[in-house]
Symmetry: C2
Subunit: 220 residues, 2 copies
């Protein structure tokens, strides 16, 4: 195998590993709220430092791969897509941290049962992340396409969560209940944003595989 | 001037123009709510189509610039930063559309006075976008630095808005009042996200100018 191919494989592996960590971060951040375990936040914060460092290393690898190998076509698209996916994964880590920060406030109060569909939404998001990065790993544009359609289901789930929480808020005059319901709404919004990032990754994969945009724009 | 330099200037100009449109989109989306003018949403939707197209064109230009000129160092960092800034600007356009979609619901009800500090927050965000893209245009890392510090002010403003709205929600049992207050909260969250994108652009500019991360990581 050429040195360049080895380095491209190394780049791919780093992003797959980073996505694995991001999936854990999402799971742990929601577990923190479900299990009411404030200590889980620390695990998310530690992993965030890891993803921040990985982002810098991956960007550096990409720039060097371009500068030293002057790739074109699919290889160049692979590297620039990797840079974008790298950014998305790092920002997903930030979102998991945001969820923990909201959780930190939420756990000051007694449980607001039920947690509505937040764990269900979180599982759906994790599966979108897994599929989008698997599509990247195997250059599978069809799998990436399925991620795009899942995003609609997640949006629907978010709408239901917000509707249920609003119903709950209407029927209480307790300020702390309102705060807790709002915190859960914000968590649903954070999860929605995580889904958007997974969608962005899937779109990058489709572009990487097909070079669709460039073909579409040749006449411009 | 070399052909390559002309193309680099053209790329820069496209991003500056795109950022101008994004600033208008943010302004119009908040104006829609302040002036209670549903027709303004159409202007935002039209501009979003424009930014979507620009994103594709700019990405294409960047890939061709790399493939045909094999740039290294500052030039390569400029182009890859341009690709990232391009992504951020397009997503900012999406956020303005999100604000209009919330506004569409909000305008079904009578005005919820006051609009708290949302117009103030919006102005602060627009100034962050302007400065971040001006920093990109003039390769001014110091100006980019000021954007990062402004983000803290915007976060503070968001916290005040949410606190004020929560106070408002506590003192009402009217469901439509709750919905309107929540919509305003979501708009504040959208504005916060817009600020995050401007911060990302500023960080890209600092990296582009100093190549800080690469230098920092040479020993890894």
């Amino acid at each position: 195998m050429r040195h360049f191919d080895l380095e491209m494989n190394d780049l791919k592996k780093r992003l797959v590993d980073m996505a694995e960590i991001v999936q854990e971060m999402i799971k742990i951040s929601v577990d923190m709220i479900v299990k009411r375990d404030i200590n889980l936040a620390k695990e998310v914060f530690n992993r965030e430092r890891e993803t921040n460092l990985t982002e810098i290393v991956v960007d550096d690898i990409c720039l060097k791969l371009i500068a030293l190998n002057q790739p074109v076509g699919t290889d160049l698209r692979f590297i620039t897509s990797a840079m974008k996916i790298n950014s998305d994964l790092e920002r997903m880590g930030d979102e998991a941290v945001n969820i923990c920060e909201i959780g930190d406030n939420l756990l000051k109060y007694p449980d607001l049962k039920p947690l509505i569909d937040i764990p269900k939404m979180s599982n759906a998001i994790i599966s979108m992340v897994r599929d989008s990065i698997c599509a990247f790993n195997t250059s599978d544009a069809d799998l990436a396409d399925t991620v795009l359609s899942k995003d609609d289901d997640v949006d629907e789930l978010k709408r239901t969560i917000i509707k249920d929480l609003l119903e709950f808020m209407t029927n209480t005059s307790d300020k702390t209940m309102l705060i807790r319901a709002m915190d859960l709404m914000f968590i649903a919004k954070n999860l929605e944003r995580l889904g958007d990032h997974a969608t962005n990754i899937a779109e990058d994969v489709i572009f990487m595989v097909h070079g669709k945009d460039i073909r579409h724009l040749k006449s411009i």
